[in-house]
């Protein structure tokens, strides 16, 4: 993880020629007007599975450079929400706004990259080949790939096949793919799943640095301690509904518990 400090800045500040497009957030900069719109706004998002309501009028916003935690127990609708925002699952209703402008489903992949939970992409292939594929797609240079590998500590596993990776290393591979993707907004489903305490802290540092470089991270987390460690703000989700949102201090004020942890706040609001 030692190289991680420089990795994200290398990824973010890597110079690109004409053929290699700069990261998305650099391209978006000229579009930024001095208006208060958040980077991402979700309004009245709805999704049903038959009779079951998975998301009911979900709405929240995320600002540039922010780490936003979507907090909720298993089955709260976190994954459904991320997938509908990313456009890999159709929503029954609602709107996704990018800097205040509606972002249709077909264009979301230009701005948002979503890392699903529990997948091992291209299991028959060695890790290096999967990284090479993504690096090729996004025209990443060797130094940038090396930085991503060092950030998540994936170097010892490069020759291994993806299906033979442990849960933790499979998660690191996904994070590396997220770091290679140049999108200004990353959605991550359970990014700490499979990590022990030390690893979680190290990965949290990596994510914080990514946010420090201007990327916005929306993390779906069910471990409240992990969420408290890394997130700037929280959206509390239960039964497909938003029960509260804000910084830890704002949420404490709302429930009237000045020293409460996220766990107490969540219990108070749901």
């Amino acid at each position: 993880m030692d190289g991680a400090v420089h990795t994200i800045s290398r990824l973010a500040s890597a110079r690109h020629d004409v053929a290699a497009p700069a990261p998305m957030w650099e391209h978006r900069r000229p579009d930024v007007r001095p208006v208060p719109e958040p980077l991402l706004a979700v309004t009245a998002l709805n999704r049903r599975y038959g009779e079951q309501i998975a998301l009911a009028d979900v709405g929240f916003a995320a600002s540039a450079g922010e780490v936003l935690g979507i907090i909720g127990p298993n089955g709260a609708g976190k994954t459904t929400m991320l997938e509908t925002i990313a456009g890999v699952m159709p929503a029954d209703g609602g709107e996704i706004l990018w800097r205040g402008v509606p972002l249709p489903q077909a264009r979301r992949r230009a701005f948002i990259f979503y890392l699903p939970d529990g997948i091992r992409p291209y299991g028959d292939e060695p890790v290096a080949r999967v990284l090479k594929f993504f690096a090729g797609v996004y025209r990443r240079h060797d130094a940038e790939v090396a930085g991503a590998i060092a950030s998540v500590g994936l170097a010892p596993m490069l020759a291994k096949r993806v299906q033979s990776l442990s849960k933790g290393y499979a998660r690191r591979l996904m994070l590396a793919l997220g770091l290679l993707a140049p999108h200004p907004l990353l959605l991550m489903d359970e990014p700490f799943d499979g990590f022990d305490l030390r690893q979680t802290r190290a990965i949290a540092q990596v994510l914080r640095r990514a946010a420090g470089e201007g990327r916005t991270l929306v993390l779906a987390i069910h471990q409240l301690a992990d969420a408290e460690r890394v997130c700037d703000r929280f959206v509390l989700l239960a039964d497909g509904r938003v029960r509260g949102s804000g910084t830890l201090a704002e949420l404490r004020n709302r429930v009237g518990l000045s020293d409460a942890g996220l766990e107490d706040i969540f219990l108070a609001l749901t």
């Binding site: 030692d2 190289g3 497009p21 700069a22 998305m24 391209h27 000229p30 579009d31 997938e83 509908t84 990313a86 456009g87 890999v88 699952m89 159709p90 990018w98 402008v101 972002l103 489903q105 264009r107 992949r109 230009a110 948002i112 990259f113 979503y114 890392l115 699903p116 529990g118 997948i119 091992r120 992409p121 291209y122 299991g123 028959d124 292939e125 060695p126 290096a128 080949r129 990284l131 090479k132 594929f133 690096a135 090729g136 797609v137 996004y138 025209r139 060797d142 130094a143 790939v145 090396a146 930085g147 590998i149 060092a150 170097a155 490069l158 020759a159 291994k160 793919l177 140049p182 999108h183």
Partner: protein, 457 residues
């Protein structure tokens, strides 16, 4: 949002390389290759053996040698084994191209990459094409073996046969891709694809030659795609129509690929796609250009007759008093009408009394007659043989009966040879080479040194 999105574009090379590694990384292709080797080898040896037995008489008599065509005797049976493998096993290879990503969840990453669904599916079709080309190595090696044994190959008819199998393979592959796109699992996709391919066999066996709608249904069979190519015909309509259906299934796969598109929109787009393909197939069916690439001109009259018939520039109307399922009509259709349509610019064929049936025709005195009308002249015959029909037509058109040019007759290519010497190739050497290639493809790649060194390893 106003500026073009550079992230929406990406080079194709990484995607293509990924697809190729994916198809080489799975077991399905290698197992298919290992199974095709003995299957094709056995068929080839059997075909050459039977051809050799038939050639024994042909070597003694040039008249008997005329009927000995390597296309019928060796190529079609050998490719027949390949056809069985493509029908039953190739779907599993093609399904994996998409189904594996769907099952492992990688599809959710793939659809976020800066490629359109159409591009993704087009590259997957290219990967299927590469897989088919690899799977055809055993059968292509059989062609080489046939030449080494002293056999004769006529390049145009051989190429036509290979093209037919290529179209059939791509058709099966495109159906498999579509099935993988709509099915939740590879097993379901396999069932859907085999329903198409095996269902085609059922259609062929049970409905072919039946009257009316049943005959039309039997023509929907996938196996019908191959028939003209196996006869050395290169029908433009079949090529364009099959290509349109392949593109149609690929387009449907592209429509059903993105998981984020609502079902209703997918259904609407699919409907439009099906209509477009039906329109192209309908137009393609009107194409009459169909060159005969067979060396023995089995689908055409002799060159002399062909030239003479070309002088009949007027409109020839033929009225046939036969039921479509009557063997005489089938014989007439194959030996006269099909060849006439290739030789004459204006020929119109009509079945008298619509859909007459052989069973109900006994009371019709004209049943069995074939009327020919050319300009102001007309004639009637009951013959279905070109030997009698052609002079009749020449008489109607005041064209002299041509005399065959010497040396233009098909000589036939008898060859009595023992193909058993090729068995070690199909049962030993080639499978070992394939196993070696499989092992080679499984080697871990060389890691870029810069990735490790610069990464602080």
């Amino acid at each position: 949002m106003r500026s073009p999105d550079p992230i929406m574009r990406a080079p194709l090379a990484p995607l293509l390389a990924k697809e190729l590694w994916e198809i080489l990384g799975g077991r399905a292709l290698w197992l298919l290759l290992l199974l095709v080797c003995p299957l094709v080898g056995y068929s080839f040896v059997q075909a050459v053996s039977l051809y050799g037995e038939a050639s024994a008489a042909g070597l003694q008599s040039p008249a008997l040698a005329v009927s000995l065509s390597p296309l019928d005797g060796v190529l079609v049976p050998t490719f027949g084994a390949f056809y069985v493998a493509v029908t039953l096993l190739f779907p599993f290879v093609a399904i994996r191209v998409l189904g594996h990503e769907k099952e492992t969840g990688a599809l959710r990453l793939l659809v976020q990459l800066p490629y359109g669904s159409g591009t993704i599916v087009a590259v997957k079709v290219a990967a299927v094409l590469v897989a088919w080309a690899l799977a055809s190595i055993p059968v292509l090696s059989a062609l080489v073996a046939w030449r080494l044994l002293g056999g004769h190959l006529h390049s145009p008819e051989t190429s036509t046969l290979v093209l037919g199998h290529l179209l059939y393979g791509l058709l099966v592959g495109a159906i498999a891709l579509f099935a993988a796109a709509i099915a939740e699992s590879a097993a379901t996709a396999a069932i859907i694809t085999l329903a198409f391919t095996l269902g085609s066999w059922v259609l062929d066996f049970t409905l072919a030659g039946r009257p009316g709608i049943l005959d039309w249904l039997s023509r929907l069979s996938l196996t019908q795609v191959l028939r003209p190519f196996e006869q050395g015909l290169l029908p433009a309509g079949a090529v364009v129509g099959t290509a349109a259906v392949i593109c149609g299934f690929a387009a449907l796969a592209a429509i059903w690929l993105p998981p984020g598109v609502p079902l209703r929109r997918k259904l609407a787009r699919s409907g439009l796609c099906v209509l477009a393909v039906m329109a192209v197939v309908g137009l393609a069916s009107q194409l009459r250009f169909s060159p005969d690439t067979s060396e023995d001109r089995r689908n055409s009259f002799s060159a002399a007759d062909h030239t003479a018939l070309a002088r009949l520039t007027g409109s020839l109307a033929i009225t046939v008093h036969l039921a479509p399922e009557d063997p005489r009509y089938i014989d007439f259709r194959r030996n006269v009408l099909a060849k006439l349509e290739r030789a004459l610019p204006n020929v119109a064929v009509r079945l008298a009394q619509g859909r007459q049936t052989a069973a109900g025709s006994s009371a019709d005195d004209a049943y069995g007659e074939i009327e020919y009308a050319y300009g102001a002249r007309a004639d009637v015959s009951r013959s279905t043989s070109p030997r009698e029909v052609l002079p009749l037509l020449y008489a109607l058109g005041d064209v002299a009966v041509p005399t065959p040019a010497p040396g233009t007759d098909y000589p036939g290519y008898p060859l009595a040879v023992d193909a058993g010497v090729t068995l070690p190739w199909f049962f030993g050497v080639l499978p070992l080479l394939i196993a070696f290639a499989w092992w080679w493809s499984r080697r871990p790649p060389a890691i870029e040194k810069a990735w490790v060194h610069q990464g602080g390893q």
